[in-house]
């Protein structure tokens, strides 16, 4: 249709699409799904890190972790707001999450087992997220792009903080170093999987590229992440758990071993170490908070009523 053609022309001209602009249904659906998934990931992602707040090993680290998890809640807020500009309510999206109908990043279905996991999440998981997200700052949909600018700024702070935490462990006692290596062993492969299946396995990619929702392929981003991260691991004195990893001197890129997608697929099916716990925790918070939300609504209504009476 003409609309479709004009829409694509605007996209090609790098114009931002805004909430009141016409857009194809597929574009809207794709964005709602992606932004919601991203928002859900922020909220669910509060849980594995929140798991160590009460056990942070120094008050300085405790404060930093509180601030970080609070930021994630904030990202959730911006992103739900961005999704709402597409005509869906936050409550609808949350219900989809709680009903198990919406996805969130599979990485948060892994447990945080030691303090080093907090470092590994900052360094690797946030690092991978940033690789995915920086291009989204130029996403064709205006509200999403603007939310991502703010998100990315905070994420890169978190990423540096995570790396610094790992550095303290890597330079610490033998036990701390062991903790750091153990965390790297457990988080490395799941981090690589965060970029999604290989390009040849990935549906929708071409259309999302054309719409400028996606700007780089999964494999390109994964390669960038590996190239950036391997030297950091070397600086930490830690070993990436991949015997096939080697620098290709000609390309300048690190080549890495085959990813075991069966684990990824199990987690997608709900069979991760913490899938059940994560959703349960969110549902419990939601259900046990119902009376509080109802009270707030009831009180606001009473207040509005009184206000009307006073001014009326």
């Amino acid at each position: 249709t003409d609309n479709d053609i004009r829409f694509q022309e605007r996209i090609d001209a790098e114009e931002k699409i805004e909430p009141r602009d016409w857009m194809p249904d597929g574009y809207r659906r794709t964005l709602v799904r992606q932004i919601a998934q991203h928002a859900h990931s922020e909220i669910v992602g509060m849980l594995p890190e929140g798991n160590w707040i009460t056990r942070a090993p120094s008050l300085r680290r405790k404060v930093a972790l509180l601030a970080k998890v609070q930021d994630e809640g904030g990202h959730g807020l911006y992103l739900y707001s961005a999704a709402e500009t597409l005509g869906v309510s936050r409550d609808e999206l949350v219900e989809q999450l709680l009903a198990g109908k919406a996805k969130y990043s599979s990485i948060f279905n892994y447990p945080t087992l030691t303090w080093a996991d907090i470092g590994a999440i900052g360094w690797l998981v946030d690092g991978a997220a940033i690789m995915n997200q920086v291009p989204l700052c130029r996403c064709s949909y205006g509200p999403y792009a603007r939310a991502m600018i703010r998100v990315c700024r905070e994420e890169s702070f978190h990423q540096r903080q995570g790396y610094e935490l790992m550095l303290a462990l890597a330079n610490g006692t033998a036990e701390q170093k062991r903790m750091a290596q153990d965390a790297l062993n457990r988080w490395w492969w799941p981090s690589l999987m965060m970029f999604g299946p290989s390009d040849d396995q990935s549906a929708h990619s071409a259309q999302n590229m054309a719409w400028k929702i996606k700007r780089f392929s999964n494999d390109e981003l994964r390669q960038r992440f590996v190239d950036a991260t391997v030297p950091q691991a070397e600086f930490l004195g830690l070993t990436i758990p991949d015997p096939d990893l080697r620098l290709n001197a000609e390309t300048g890129h690190y080549e890495f071993g085959a990813i075991d997608w069966s684990e990824f697929n199990e987690i997608l099916k709900g069979n991760g170490p913490c899938n059940r716990e994560r959703l349960e925790a969110r549902r419990k918070a939601w259900d046990e908070g119902a009376w509080v939300r109802e009270a707030a609504t009831a009180h606001a209504a009473k207040r509005a009523q009184r206000h009307l009476k006073n001014v009326g």
């Binding site: 707040i53 680290r61 998890v69 609070q70 303090w115 303290a168 462990l169 036990e175 109802e294």
Partner: protein, 254 residues
């Protein structure tokens, strides 16, 4: 018992530091589990402020003591009987209503205290109080608003909040209880006599409770013990969790 000003500063800063830390810990237990996202962020933010205040007070305590203990040494290497927090703040979260009422009863006290400490002739004390005061003013506004919302919300929320208020009221007396440290600082003009905070605290609480359509419990028998390290059974579990890493890896720097 008379004690010198440095000892008194140590004891007083420990009381405030421990109280902030334990309350911050309790709030941080909500992180990721609050009734709505905005509140999850708000509670985490207040927890962050409180742990921040704890760091300042515990650092001051360590300096006043002069034995080389820093904030982490004090936070992570004392067992229950050396903790000096008020019993109120170690009470478990139970539900959001208990959490909010506990917070409000504390915040209303903290704002009165910090207002006075902000003009203390002791620069260290005044500096911390002035910094904390800005945050504590926001805290009491936040918790008072929620007390009103819950009290004057639904029948269910009203009942739950009244129950929380009744349950926590016997823990409020301790906030105004003088100990050797606070008495010595009051005598030296460095801190107010804690009993003097009671009237304005009670007035603020009465206003909020009335607006919330709740009934202010009668004063009567009050729990005591936190100031001499006699806590409830809850604090030991809290410390076991909080202190695990520094205890398990005593030589590590984090």
């Amino acid at each position: 018992m008379t004690i010198d000003t440095q000892q008194a500063l140590f004891g007083f800063a420990l009381r405030l530091g421990d109280t902030s830390l334990v309350l911050g810990h309790r709030l941080s237990e909500w992180c990721g589990h609050a009734p709505e996202l905005e509140e999850d962020i708000a509670l985490t933010n207040i927890a962050l402020d409180l742990v921040g205040h704890a760091r300042l007070w515990l650092s001051l305590a360590g300096e006043a003591e002069g034995q080389g203990r820093d904030e982490d040494r004090l936070a992570y290497r004392r067992d229950v009987f050396d903790y000096r927090n008020h019993l109120l703040v170690e009470q478990p979260n139970r539900d959001f209503g208990h959490t909010i009422v506990r917070q409000f009863l504390h915040d209303a006290w903290a704002v009165e205290l910090y207002e006075r400490l902000a003009t203390s002739p002791d620069a260290g004390v005044a500096g911390i109080a002035a910094k904390a005061l800005k945050e504590v003013r926001y805290h009491v506004q936040h918790s008072a608003e929620w007390v009103i919302r819950l009290g004057d919300g639904t029948a269910v929320s009203h009942a739950k909040t009244q129950e929380a208020l009744d349950r926590l009221w016997p823990y409020t007396g301790e906030m105004f209880e003088a100990d050797a440290a606070s008495s010595a600082l009051a005598a030296a003009g460095i801190a107010p006599a804690l009993a003097d905070l009671r009237a304005t605290w009670a007035a603020r609480v009465a206003d909020t409770v009335a607006e919330a359509t709740l009934t202010r419990p009668a004063d009567g028998w009050m729990h005591k013990g936190g100031l001499r390290g006699e806590h409830s059974e809850h604090l030991g579990y809290l410390l076991a969790e909080m202190q695990f890493l520094p205890r398990a890896y005593p030589d590590a720097v984090w």
